[in-house]
């Protein structure tokens, strides 16, 4: 913790070496979180860079009440969700324009997302699960991803989402129930 305090202090002073250490230490954590939400490697890479830019620019607003990693997780999830919302708005707007005969580029549904960290024999099922996660409400989606993909404990997830552990338990319980329903519907439609 002391090391983190010194790191934050140096970051506030604009110390390049401190910033490099933060980027090196947290880049995979940020990238993995963003990738699980946006499901595209290039977009996740782009958002991860934006996250670190914000970390550098907003370090003065970090009060030290939580861990640095918790704060960075918050920025990463917020930016990823913002990106997803923007993408959905563009899609909707593109659909409206197409009605009025605007020959915009056709939006092709991307292929199923394959997370690079999933073992080979589970890749297909994981792709189905990622698709189902997309249909969850945002808070359930984030809680599920942080717990299952990032491996955070309920306590850690509650710190990121700034809520209680019992709320996270309830959120994850509802997420699993909703996922079951979505998967059942999908299974029945295929068979």
């Amino acid at each position: 913790m002391l090391k983190e305090e010194i790191l934050v202090q140096e970051l506030r002073q604009g110390n390049e070496a401190a910033f490099k250490e933060v980027v090196d230490s947290y880049q995979n954590m940020v990238y993995n979180t963003c990738l699980a939400i946006v499901k595209n490697e290039e977009d996740a890479e782009d958002i991860a860079q934006e996250v670190f830019v914000q970390v550098f620019q907003s370090i003065h607003s970090f009060k030290g009440e939580s861990k640095l990693s918790t704060w960075i997780y918050r920025i990463a999830t917020t930016k990823s969700l913002d990106f997803e919302r923007k993408k959905k708005r563009k899609k909707r707007f593109g659909f409206v324009r197409s009605i009025f005969g605007d020959d915009s580029q056709v939006v092709v549904n991307p292929p199923d997302f394959q997370h690079p960290g999933i073992v080979l024999d589970k890749k297909e099922n994981a792709a189905i699960l990622f698709k189902a996660i997309d249909q969850l409400p945002e808070n359930q989606r984030i809680a599920f991803i942080l717990n299952k993909v990032e491996g955070l404990s309920y306590q850690e997830v509650s710190e990121v989402l700034e809520t209680s552990v019992s709320s996270i338990e309830s959120l994850l319980h509802r997420a699993k129930n909703n996922l079951r329903k979505i998967l059942e519907k999908d299974y029945r439609s295929r068979t």
Partner: protein, 108 residues
């Protein structure tokens, strides 16, 4: 039963997941982005490009134009009234001159 087993296997497909790794030299790319963002013109264009700023500028331009049009119209009306007043003065003066001339001619 088969359905439930299948669903369970999907729900458990994240077990043993490894963290994805970003491409190398992330710090270099972040640094380059920070330098780009601190450029004056990039910051200015990002502010101007915001929809709120663009809409405010448009509303300001329209408001100023409407004000100028209304102001021009009201000035035109005031000038017309002033000109009318001036013309009647001129006519009165001419009448006086005519009248004076007539009296002079008469006295001759």
């Amino acid at each position: 039963m088969k359905e439930q087993d299948h669903i369970e296997s999907i729900l458990n497909s994240f077990d043993g997941i490894q963290r994805a790794e970003s491409r190398p030299f992330m710090y270099t790319r972040v640094r380059a982005r920070l330098n780009e963002e601190s450029n004056f013109w990039t910051r200015t264009s990002s502010i101007i490009a915001k929809p709120v700023v663009a809409i405010c500028c448009l509303v300001s331009v329209i408001t100023v134009n409407v004000y100028l049009i209304i102001d021009a119209n009201s000035k035109q009306k005031a000038e017309t009234v002033t000109m009318a007043g001036t013309e009647s003065d001129i006519l009165q003066n001419e009448n006086f001159i005519l009248a004076s001339n007539t009296s002079y001619d008469f006295n001759k």
